[in-house]
Subunit: 193 residues, 2 copies
DNA sequence: TAAATTAAACAGAACAGTCTAATTATTTAC
DNA sequence: GTAAATAATTAGACTGTTCTGTTTAATTTA
């Protein structure tokens, strides 16, 4: 039997609240309220708000990395079709989420990446992890002559990654999937071998 | 003879401060300090912090739109070369700005686009304006068979726009121009007719 | 019993925004 | 053209709230 609250539950609340509302727009009290915990318990687990945010990013970054890895490992389609189904799913998820245009790590890095080195570095760590997973799929697609060989797997992964976050961010103000769909069509047409 | 302070100067300070530090991370007092004005003067010109931010976006959005229009109107190169020189310049500017990865409108829309409809709508207005300028150059490039005809000018403009902001945001944590250069090479290779 | 956790009152700083007074510019009256 | 009246702007002290983080005590688990 553990104690009443645990870190992971609070981190999950933090993920949800930060993702939807940003970092500076959210006060500790909002986290406490949504998690249903008193302040003392929060500061028992976390040193500061910044430390908390960093752990939130870390937990999400790692779990998302595992999830991506599993997705591509389990995907029975050809490499480029795996990439397509992955991004098609991401687009669907964002639509279902009512175009909140939210990736916690991307939002955080845009909002505070320049002022907060700890958060920027944490964000970059996970971006790099995700990019390597994408790059390994791209490499397989290149071996099968599905994907252009004119660029390295990592370069193409960066291209997919940045492009997707670009259109994802765009939906924050358009609230419409049409731009994501266009991006999808164009990108996969362009990277084809 | 006017009065001591004027709106435009304060808006310019706001542009600078918001661009570097974000919206919720900046207090009115910081604006006052950097602009060298007392609080009463600020609230004489602006209703609220939100109203101020909206006017900051508007001023920058419009002036940047004019600047883009002039740039392309004055550009003596072929359409696709104008686009290339434009983005090459944007990349250089971001490098000179020490990879602060900053477009005020993009930052604002990512940070508060989901919670603040007024700011989201203002941001979208200017994005659309900029996109139309890009699209008109793309259209000329298509007429000259420099740019692929497989997509509409606006679709290609959206693609350039979102892609650029995607890699620009990426530099917030990488602080390195290499990813922007890769994006540049790939994108202009891809959209070529 | 000892250590960890829970609980909430508390502290000091920072927050957006208000208020009244003094100053400056502009308009009106003659 | 000048003086008086009006309007706009400047100035900063002040308000009430919210912010992160502290503290101390009670409770729970090992």
């Amino acid at each position: 039997m553990g104690y009443k609250y645990n870190k992971e539950d609070i981190l999950n609340v933090g993920f949800d609240v930060f993702r939807r509302n940003g970092y500076h727009n959210v006060g500790i009290n909002q986290i406490l309220k949504e998690a249903g915990i008193p302040k003392g318990s929060f500061y028992n687990f976390f040193e500061t708000k910044e430390d908390f945010a960093q752990q939130v990013i870390k937990q999400y970054g790692e779990s998302n990395g595992c999830w991506m890895k599993d997705y591509f490992d389990d995907c029975s389609l050809s490499p480029i079709e795996c990439l397509k189904s992955f991004y098609a799913m991401m687009i669907d998820l964002n639509e279902k989420d009512d175009y909140s245009g939210c990736c916690l790590v991307n939002n955080m890095s845009v909002e505070v990446g320049r002022q907060n080195n700890a958060i920027a570095s944490e964000a970059n760590t996970h971006f790099v992890g995700w990019l390597n997973i994408l790059a390994s799929v791209v490499a397989k697609g290149q071996d099968l002559k599905e994907i252009t060989n004119e660029f390295t797997p990592l370069q193409l992964a960066e291209y997919l990654h940045a492009g997707f976050y670009g259109v994802l961010s765009r939906t924050k103000v358009t609230r419409n999937r049409v731009y994501m769909d266009i991006w999808f069509d164009m990108t996969f047409k362009f990277i084809k071998a």
